[in-house]
């Protein structure tokens, strides 16, 4: 469920089909995932999950798995 929501946000930000986003997706595998869209993705995820990523983590969230892990940690902290 959470992964599907991440996928939907990523598909919207990158303008690609959600079905094409695997859990191994990263900045290296999605051409549209550039530095500008990375910021758009982070802010869109914050809106979707009503969280705020720590400033020092934002640059590091460069893969689907790292995003999912960070969202789990933020949910556990709440």
């Amino acid at each position: 469920m959470k992964n599907d929501r991440i996928r939907t946000v990523m598909a919207d930000v990158f303008g690609i089909d959600a079905g094409s986003i695997s859990e191994d997706a990263s900045q290296g595998t999605i051409e549209q995932w550039d530095s500008l869209r990375h910021m758009n993705l982070i802010l869109a995820l914050e809106e979707e999950f009503e969280v705020r990523f720590p400033e020092d983590q934002i640059d590091q969230l460069a893969s689907f798995k790292l995003i999912a892990l960070s969202l789990d940690e933020l949910a556990a902290d709440q």
């Binding site: 550039d34 500008l36 758009n40 802010l43 914050e46």
Partner: protein, 171 residues
């Protein structure tokens, strides 16, 4: 080189004259507008001193609605398409860009490899001085941006944003 510069300045002045003749827009001193054929204004718009507006070479539209006020020193790069709806005000030194460098390209070449994404500010948006609106940003109607913010992404009507990256203030 001198003749080239004189000719260039004359052309820019002529383009401002064309704009002022065609639209109801007040253009103060030291304003530059390039590629004016892609730029349009509604009624009662103002471009204050030192504003720089770059239209689009590729034919995208740079559109100002009615009663739009651009304060002094703003820089608006509209190559990717730009729309500022009615009653939107930009504070001094606001930068709106619809282009950004492709960091994956070879940086050591004469012309930068750029990417483009349109920007749309809804009706009645107030953008605080010194803020930067990044490519692809969309603000709904009545959004407020605090001074020196850096705006990314899409925001619904009435959102107040602050910071870098700019986030809703209520959170």
């Amino acid at each position: 080189m001198i003749v080239k510069n004189i000719r260039h300045r004359f052309k820019l002045t002529w383009q401002l004259f064309k704009l002022a003749r065609k639209y109801d827009v007040l253009i103060e001193k030291a304003v530059t507008v390039k590629y004016v054929d892609t730029v349009s204004f509604g009624i009662h718009c103002t471009l204050q001193s030192g504003t720089y507006v770059y239209g689009s070479r590729s034919g995208n539209k740079v559109r100002f609605g009615d009663h739009v006020a651009i304060s002094s020193g703003c820089v608006l790069l509209g190559e990717g398409g730009l729309a500022l709806d009615d009653f939107t005000h930009l504070g001094p030194r606001v930068v709106i860009t619809t282009q950004y460098g492709d960091s994956r390209s070879d940086l050591l070449q004469p012309s930068a490899v750029l990417k483009y994404a349109p920007v749309h500010l809804g009706k009645g948006c107030w953008i605080g001085s010194g803020s930067v609106i990044m490519p692809g940003s969309t603000l709904g109607d009545g959004c407020i941006v605090a001074p020196n913010s850096v705006v990314f992404g899409t925001w619904r009507n009435g959102t107040s944003l602050a910071g870098n990256p700019a986030r809703p203030r209520e959170r």
